[in-house]
């Protein structure tokens, strides 16, 4: 079986599909460009679109790991809030080093705690995630209330340390990020084990992989990227107010959509690159809808909701979706 000829064929086909997808995207962009009085494909607007996509990209990269190992975590929104604030606090003390370290430490620690809870308790992660989100939101609220009581507000960077979240640095961050994710996910035993566990727990176990270790590692890696995303986020927004009432859960929506887009193109692009295409397309979509005058708060959301559904349909076609 399996001579090389069909493999080569497949390879060529894949390349062609990649070109086709990108060409299709470009065509859509061109149409939008014309429809918006040539406001869409300007250098400045492209910069805006890409820079809006940076933070979701980091979060989504993180989520690939936890999703793949079956750890759907609805608390990431609340983790981003806490990690951003922590990054802000350390950032004001120690500059950029503090900002990034603060995000990383908080992201990794909170994801580790989640991992611990998910694994030790064997709770379905999406349930436990809601529980943890509730707890994290409350912690944020305690912090924020304390700050308001003492006449202030939660940490704000003001005009300091804002470079990381702005063009061009935020976009530049994508490059080392992409390389790191690719290597971790596709070319290390961490990634391999995570994918194995996500696909078939029992067998993986019998093959001698400790699934809990793999899952826990996936949470830690996820924490790294969420932490980085949070640091960039804090630099981007300057100040992030904690919210209660499980309102942070909605944060997962956009990264989730990006993961879906990525896995809908799983046969064509590596999922790591797919994520970037996904987050940028989403950011372009919102930008284009606004340029086209589609009202936000109603129709833009309908479009996004339908997009999620459409993309998921496509992504379910392939055998190996990331989202289960």
């Amino acid at each position: 079986m399996g001579d090389t000829h069909p493999m080569l064929q497949r390879f060529g086909k894949r390349r062609m599909q990649q070109v086709l997808v990108l060409a299709g995207l470009l065509l859509v962009f061109l149409i939008i460009h014309f429809a918006t009085n040539f406001r869409f494909l300007t250098g400045r607007n492209m910069g805006i679109i890409v820079s809006h996509a940076v933070i979701p990209t980091f979060i989504t990269w993180g989520l690939i790991f936890s999703f793949t190992s079956g750890m759907i975590d609805l608390s990431i929104g609340s983790i981003v809030v806490l990690a951003s604030n922590f990054a802000g606090i350390l950032g004001l003390k120690f500059g950029y080093v503090g900002l990034i370290l603060g995000g990383l430490v908080a992201g990794v620690l909170l994801q580790a705690l989640n991992g611990f809870v998910f694994l030790k308790t064997k709770i379905p992660p999406w349930v436990a995630g809601l529980g943890m989100a509730m707890i994290y939101e409350s912690i944020g609220a305690v912090y924020s209330t304390a700050a308001v009581r003492s006449g202030g507000m939660v940490v704000s960077l003001g005009s300091q340390l804002r470079g990381l979240g702005q063009l061009p640095f935020n976009v530049l961050m994508l490059v080392p990020g992409l390389i790191a994710v690719y290597i971790l996910f596709c070319r290390t035993s961490i990634g391999l084990n995570v994918r194995a566990v996500g696909s078939d727990l029992r067998v993986t176990k019998e093959m001698g992989i400790d699934p809990n270790r793999a899952k826990f590692l996936s949470m830690l890696v996820c924490g790294v990227f969420i932490g980085l995303g949070s640091a960039i986020n804090q630099s981007y927004v300057g100040q992030l107010l904690p919210r209660t009432g499980l309102t942070t859960v909605s944060t997962i929506f956009q990264p989730l959509t990006a993961v879906l887009i990525a896995s809908s193109m799983g046969a064509i692009f590596n999922v790591v690159i797919g994520v970037v295409i996904g987050t940028i397309s989403l950011s372009a979509l919102f930008n284009a809808l606004t340029l086209l005058g589609v009202p936000s708060g109603t129709w833009q959301e309908v479009v996004l909701g339908m997009l999620v559904i459409a993309v998921t349909i496509v992504s379910m076609r392939g055998e190996e979706g990331v989202v289960k």
């Binding site: 918006t36 406001r39 400045r44 607007n45 805006i48 809006h52 933070i55 939101e137 944020g140 609220a141 924020s144 209330t145 308001v148 009581r149 006449g151 202030g152 507000m153 704000s156 003001g158 986020n233 981007y236 927004v237 300057g238 100040q239 992030l240 107010l241 904690p242 919210r243 209660t244 009432g245 499980l246 309102t247 909605s250 944060t251 950011s283 919102f286 930008n287 606004t290 340029l291 005058g293 009202p295 936000s296 708060g297 109603t298 959301e301």
Partner: protein, 351 residues
Amino acid sequence: YKIGFNNALSGVYCLDILENFAVYGAEALGVDLMVVNDEGTIEKSISNVENMIASGVDGIVYFGLSDATFAIVAKMCADARVPLVLYDHLPTPDTLAHLRNNPYFAGAVGEDDYDAGYPIGEFAAATGAKTAVLVTGNRGDTTHEARVKGFTEAFEGAGGKVLDIAWAATGGRAEALKKSEDLLVAYPDVDVVYTTSGEPAVATMEVLQKYADLGIQYYVTDLDPPILEGLQEGKISAANGAHWINSGLAVALLHNFLEGNPIKDANGQAPVFHVPIIVLEAGQYKAYEEQWLNNMPFTPEEIRNLSVKYNPAASAESFETLLANYSVEQRIMDKFEAGIITEEDLERYGF
């Protein structure tokens, strides 16, 4: 006394400030304040009232997310013989008429969100601006719907046009940043941007910084520290909203009722007090920061003066006088006269 107080959604700065002032007022009056968080849902705000009643509060100061909740809550209170004061969100005339038949309805203190948007719309139009885009909170949120409506009616009434509205939903500041930036790409020629809500306002302010070359006028309702800074630095043309004080006054109003001095308006009915919407000019930043945020705008003494327990003459008039004089200048001068702030401070504040 123990008084129950609801925060509609903890974590929203303005609501937390309202809670904060209520706590301050309660301390001044020597009453306990029990605070609950409704997490932004109507169901929870109602069941929280029942739970507070069950826990034996002597009165309730209530924020209604929907007009329909007032009647229910008032009935619960009447059944339990617990007096009720509404704060911030005021009932519609019909509902008010209904509430006034309820002996346990002790009045309301709030401001009209329509009136927050309207003057800004007028003001913007008066500068000759022709077009505007708005960045605001959630679709369906009465506060923001009313402010948007106020602005739009004033602005369009004066011949302007509102080109687009970004409903920034709950994504917080990050989402607002993106939405306002996309909006500015779509309408680079717009004359005016107005945001009705603290978080989107800060976000939009930052975006506008990047587009300073476009010369867009920027207006804001809702003040929080970053907005104040923006005002001071001239990034904002004008802002209103400032510090809501209705929550603390509502506590004082309720306190009178509990002390056996139900305050009535001129017609002998449960009163509705409107808190003026103070407008903050750029130069008043320091004063506001020090005298509103770091210290409360009113002294405990002034709040005590509103209650019959400390001031036998307390009446509707006491509230009305206090409110009539609620402006930034007046407050500062009052504090100066009371010896709380020095002449030096006055100079620093630019008076």
